[in-house]
Amino acid sequence: MFDRSRRSRATPQPMARDLRLVDLQKRFLQRGKAPVTAVGGIDLAVAEGELLGLLGPSGCGKSTTLRMIAGLEEPTAGDIRIGGASIVGRSPHLRDVAVAFENYALYPPLTVEENIAFGLNARKERDATVRAREVAERLGLTALLDRKPGALSSGQKQRVSLARAIVRKPSVLLLDEPLSHLDAAERDQTRRELKRLQRETGYTTVLVTHDQQEALSLADRVAVMNAGELMQVGTPDEVYDAPANRFVADFVGEPRMNLLDGRLVLDRDGIGVALADRVWLALSPETRDATADLNGRAVVIGIRPQDIRLGRPDESGMIAASVFAFEPLQEVGRLTATVPGVETRIVVETHHDHRAVRDEAIGLAFEPDRMHLFDAETGERVAWQPESTIPTDRFQPLSPVTGSS
């Protein structure tokens, strides 16, 4: 598959180095309670000039990881290396790492120019003002140099915060939820500018966010975290198209992937996936051998709303369903359906001209090569191959599954 990550990555900035996290751990001890593992041993490599997105829900450990790289927290175990050299134990200002904080943390009494130059001035660098002006121009802040933070919009503050981080020409740039406090319009624009900027400047960057759209748009590679562990690391397309486990499948993608409880069922014709004992979605003969020992195994079927076709309920190959609600969102249509015997409602993204009415009877067909299977217990992906052509009459209502092969 075309390696988008390498091709489209920025030309690394001369000062940029690569970043490696080696078995990085962080545990918090508490009196009278069990210790809390915020980060449980992660290994991660960020190439020079690459933007890595650390994506996960709140509490997953991504911010703690960022803080350890910045030097604001000490790891309990493991190593952090920039350019091959370990930086653990060094105080933050000696690490050559720059952070743009979620809340911007601008100094209110200083002007934009002074804010940007602050770190440089603290180090008594001679050309602080010149460099500050250069970076400001790059970020479109020249007109605002004399203003104070109080007179800036969120988007402008965010750019000042970025400028302040970049002006130090750090080896590694850390961005903590850079877009979270912006309104919708500012967010879109700032995101594009940020992506462009990172590409042009080539800083090795780690971006922390809980917003999967942000991570997919901006990152060369995405590392999905949950409860202190890495769930998957890959390019945005890899993480979207081939989620390694149920968590990633659920977390990445808008609208959310439909995750339905099913079972692998073996019968004369081959192995299939039963959905609520009603529907048999056929798998390929190749999978039959691989999964033969999994007869009766509970699995989770994943199918994105964009990968479900609509039809008439009596058409062959269709799963009979009824409309729960239809939202005509003008850009797309969003249809939610219930299938008898299936607990979870199924969301289908339709063409924007589609219309549907509550309780209308419809048929659903899952595109076979877009289906994902996850082991219901472990959450891990079950590898399978769809048949090259699956005849539609293989999709048919099952008589109640007896359970015997």
Binding site: R27, F28, L29, Q30, R31, K33, V36, T64, E73, E74
Partner: protein
Amino acid sequence: MREQTAIPTSTERPASETVAVAPATAVEGERRTGLRWTDIVLNGLTLLYFLFALFPLVWMLILSLKPQDDLFTTYFVFEPTLAAYREVLGGSGQVGTRFLGFFFNSLIVSAGAVLISLIVGVPAAYAFARWRFRGGESLLFTLLSFRFAPELMVIIPLLVIYRRFGLFDTHLGLIWVYQLITLPLIVWILRSYFQDLTPELEQSALLDGYNRPQAFMKVAVPLIRPGLAAAGLLAFIFAWNSFVFPFALTGSNAQTVTVGSLSFLGGATPRYNLTAAAALIALIPPLLLALSIQRFLVRGLTFGAVKG
């Protein structure tokens, strides 16, 4: 998510201060073990401060336990005796019953004052919190200003008035004048508690079919229970400790324990041990109240009512 638990720290503080729950930070797994010398110095300084702050109490305790002969010495070594306590609390007639009388007077007037202040002050605080009306700010400030004036300034006119109206040396008289102490406190504290309540809670009740007074009683008041406890406690302590008003406005009938304890100092020989014992006993009600109400001084009762 890193869990921050609030671990109550047990600092030794004089009972007249409100006991609060201090949040502590989670202790991180440290790479280095062992005490740093800064810890020793800081703890040492804290200990020194404790000794300084508690010394008067300790001295009083010693005084109360010293036998009559050792009273005027500064020795720390002596034979402790409970004779002073026995005398104060009962046994030998006069002193005992007198003290108990003072004690109950204090209880009656302090509790009575707080009760009246709550009945009047809670609705007042609500009104100040929820409505802006002409003269509201001035009224509030006037109420607070009662606390500014030194009590000594007003006792002479008060004395005259009280004698005239037969309020001198009565429980009712003290309860009434204590309102100058307790009411501003309660109104000010509870006003900010009411302000912290989001008005939507009562608005929701209004829409649900209740009228204003019902919304007030059923929704607003239950939610400021911690405030009621805090304000009530503080008011009680200030009322209990009050000296100037009972000194000026009471005789033998309604005299409180603060004034009464000094009576042991009159006469041929000042009985410091009795005074000390009396004072320490008088410490007990506010202390018990503070400890029992500590449970209510917990934030977060409104957590869950509104988002975040």
